[in-house]
């Protein structure tokens, strides 16, 4: 029996960015970059650990929108074309940097990466990466947890129980469709929790979820185990709290490992640095400057005079940081074990795209960390379900409203840049609930229209749209997507009111937004609260 456990959870998510109406689409690159830099490197890591008989356990969350895109044949084909373009660019880069040894070895690294991606994507599971994840899910190496249908930030929808319930219900349904079994755990998008959400999770058989550190530390009672053992809500659903102290060492771009001077700099990219005559072939419209993933400089420090990136030095640093992380966990567990009345567990959830996309050496750090923990006498990797099986006796304490966003609550998704959104997305939910009431058991064309309406309501609620408006990264796209989905809901609402649904319009929208094949519009059946639901928040000091 080890003295303590570590849970590593990787949450993978991207919004639904599939645009069959165009031959190519700039925002689909978000998916392709994530596949090339994060998902494929992580899956190859799982293969290596497995072939070396490393006894690893990881938790992974794959959002339903990401799963839909990974399983989509149109996007799979476009990804192969993207990969081929990247190989072409890498070959040109190897040639361009031939007289610059420091840069040439980096160009060769990119050539190897993209050629390997092209091979692996062609050979493994016909390009369906969800089946690759599922392989390890079925072997018990991964525990895949469900998440909300379109990654809605749920605390801003709690006045509409139907919206929260639909996000959770479709998320659970899509998990079962993709992986053939019901999920035990649920990842609340952005760790966004509001009192009462656990009632909807329990309705769908969910046994645990994750919250931010202060969700438990500022909870109903002073937590006897801090964040180092799950607590349970009053309905019995368990709550794992993110360990801020551990995860910040990895997350923080200022103080964390990724800020080390040896690592690859994220911002310097040939898409911005090289003349358009050369790089234009690989940019949208040959003119829109954007990152290509070809970056040649190290973080270096707070200077514009960046040093060339040295991959070998960075790899050594990743291993060194993994050893430091494991050492710190050992010391933490050693101390906690003397204080606690149960086996401590350190919960470390991360955005999966941190590893590889944002922090290029992240997958190397992760693999080294897993191997070091496997060798440790004190630590053991576990999954949330395994921990709960071993330690079912939990302190009862209702968690507090919280998120892992900046400042710990909802400001990222509700500020002057994006607050206009909710008037419309709330109205879309109300209209959907009204349609279900008016058309409780439809078939044929009406049913198709109602099902598509439900998809559009869910798509309008993606946390990504207000996030992008807040961050200012791709605002016109986010605004357009939000408006289009809300307008599509209005279109169906008005068409059904008139008694006429246009087949041509419906077919076009169904083809564009073709996710959630099993959706039943009646998932929005009731806007009435369930007992203890968020629309009737508990009175402070008077827990149920």
């Amino acid at each position: 029996m080890k003295r303590g456990h570590v849970i590593l959870l990787l949450h993978a998510h991207l919004p639904f960015v599939r645009h069959p109406e165009e031959g190519s689409f700039l925002e689909e690159t978000w998916l392709f970059e994530a596949i090339s830099e994060t998902y494929l490197p992580l899956l190859r890591m799982l293969d290596r650990l497995d072939s070396d008989d490393v006894p690893f356990r990881l938790a992974v969350s794959l959002s339903p929108t990401l799963v839909a895109m990974l399983q989509d044949q149109l996007l799979q084909g476009r990804y192969r074309a993207y990969c081929a373009r990247m190989v072409d660019l890498a070959q040109r880069e190897v040639e361009r940097t031939r007289s610059q040894p420091d840069f040439n070895r980096v160009a060769r690294l990119y050539l190897d990466l993209h050629e390997q991606n092209l091979r692996d994507f062609a050979n493994a599971f016909d390009g369906d990466l969800t089946r690759w994840f599922d392989l390890y899910y079925k072997r018990g190496r991964l525990e895949i947890v469900a998440t909300a249908a379109t990654h809605a930030y749920l605390p801003l929808y709690t006045q509409h129980p139907a919206a929260v319930r639909a996000q959770i219900s479709v998320g659970v349904q899509e998990h079962a469709r993709a992986f053939g079994k019901a999920p035990r755990g649920f990842w609340l998008p952005e760790c966004g929790y509001a009192p009462g959400i656990e009632s909807y999770l329990a309705e769908h058989g969910i046994r645990y979820f994750f919250v931010a550190s202060h969700g438990v530390v500022f909870g109903e009672h002073r937590p006897n185990s801090g964040v180092y053992a799950p607590t349970k809500c009053h309905n019995g659903v368990a709550t794992f709290a993110r360990d801020y102290a551990s995860t910040n060492a990895v997350w923080s771009s200022d103080e964390g490992y990724p800020a080390d001077v040896a690592y690859r700099d994220f911002y310097r990219d040939i898409g911005h640095d090289l003349p358009l005559d050369y790089i234009g072939d690989f940019l949208p419209d040959r003119s829109i400057r954007m990152s290509t993933g070809f970056k040649y400089y190290a973080v270096t420090g707070r200077t514009d005079q960046k040093l060339p990136y040295d991959p070998q030095r960075a790899s050594r640093k990743a291993v060194e940081h993994a050893e430091n992380f494991v050492y710190n966990q050992q010391r933490r567990i050693e101390r906690l074990a003397t204080l606690m009345d149960r086996t401590p567990v350190v919960s470390c959830p991360f955005d999966a795209e941190l590893f590889g996309h944002w922090w290029f050496e992240g997958p190397q750090w992760l693999e080294a960390t897993i191997r070091r923990i496997a060798e440790s006498d004190d630590l053991e990797l576990t999954t949330p379900s395994e921990y709960l099986k071993q330690s079912p006796d939990l302190q009862a304490s209702a968690p507090a409203f919280s998120s892992w966003g900046s400042k710990g609550y909802s400001e990222v998704w509700l500020d002057g840049s994006n607050d206009w959104v909710y008037r419309h997305t709330h109205k879309a939910v109300e209209r959907m609930a009204e349609l279900v009431h008016r058309f409780p058991d439809e078939s044929g064309l009406r049913r198709r229209a109602l099902n598509q309406c439900a998809r559009e309501v869910l798509l309008s609620q993606a946390s990504d749209w207000p996030f992008i408006m807040h961050a200012g990264t791709a605002v016109p796209y986010a605004v357009r997507r939000l408006k289009d989905h809300v307008a599509n809901v209005a279109h169906v609402y008005e068409a059904l009111g008139r008694g006429t649904v246009g087949t041509e319009w419906l077919t076009r929208v169904e083809r564009q937004h073709n996710l959630f094949p099993d959706i039943d519009y009646r998932v929005f059946a009731s806007d009435s609260p369930s007992p203890g639901s968020p629309s009737t928040p508990p009175v402070p000091g008077r827990q149920p």
Partner: protein
């Protein structure tokens, strides 16, 4: 950005806000001076918070790498949404333990009735502190008012107290008589602090050990907005002793 009006907050509520944001209020301070000090503290707090982008946000930003100036690939002009839905309602959304966001609308009928009414004095948002989940705000324990115009439709509200329930009323004042046009949903504002009371669950862990365990979480560095004095001094003392890994 819509800033809240402090002019309608009670003197006691202003004092609580001053305490929350660490303002030393001289005994001789007038109400106007107190309002100004609180407003300055709020602005300072907002600027400080704005300078700190969390790590999770930075990583997430990197996923959406399109240049800000780029237009969507598809040049189609997106549909414009209506400014309003012609209904009288008010919705309250909790943003954090100190701030809420409200949006509202007036139906065409109510709007023209108010605009043409003799004796129409004001349209108000009433922020009610509630003791229970009653929809009748007339029995609320306390409230303050924010005058709004017929053209306004959203506002950020400062919440004087944590660990409270709030409801919002959209009120028309005609001939000095208030009529409630719409009442919002209820929001529960969290405490935003560590609870003093441990759970009575028969745990064998001593109170001192619990304090040390909480100190190990890195609580002082949580990237969380601060309300009042969220971390008891006894826990902070343990953080200061650098117990971690000793």
């Amino acid at each position: 950005m819509y800033l809240p009006s402090l002019s309608d907050a009670s003197y006691e509520a202003l004092l609580r806000l001053a305490d929350t944001y660490g303002v030393d209020v001289p005994e001789s301070a007038t109400r106007a001076e107190l309002e100004e000090m609180v407003e300055d503290a709020l602005e300072e707090w907002r600027q400080e918070q704005g300078d700190r982008a969390s790590s999770t946000v930075r990583v997430e930003e990197s996923k959406f790498g399109s240049p800000a100036q780029a237009q969507p690939s598809d040049a189609q002009v997106s549909t414009e949404l209506p400014d309003r839905y012609n209904e009288t309602r008010v919705v309250l959304m909790l943003r954090d333990p100190s701030w809420a966001f409200a949006y509202w609308d007036l139906s065409d009928g109510d709007r023209s009735a108010l605009g043409g009414a003799d004796g129409f004095e004001a349209l108000l948002l009433q922020v009610h502190s509630m003791d229970d989940d009653s929809e009748d705000v007339s029995g609320s324990s306390d409230h303050y008012e924010i005058p709004i115009s017929l053209l306004d439709n959203r506002w950020y509200l400062n919440l004087p107290d944590q660990d409270r329930l709030y409801r919002l009323a959209l009120v028309a004042r005609v001939d000095s008589v208030d009529s409630v046009l719409a009442v919002s949903n209820l929001i529960a504002v969290p405490r935003g602090t560590v609870a003093d009371d441990p759970a009575d669950d028969g745990t064998a862990v001593s109170s001192q050990s619990v304090d040390e365990i909480i100190a190990q979480t890195g609580i002082r560095d949580f990237d969380v907005m601060v309300t009042g004095k969220p971390v008891p001094q006894r826990i902070l003392d343990l953080v200061d002793e650098e117990l971690l890994f000793h």
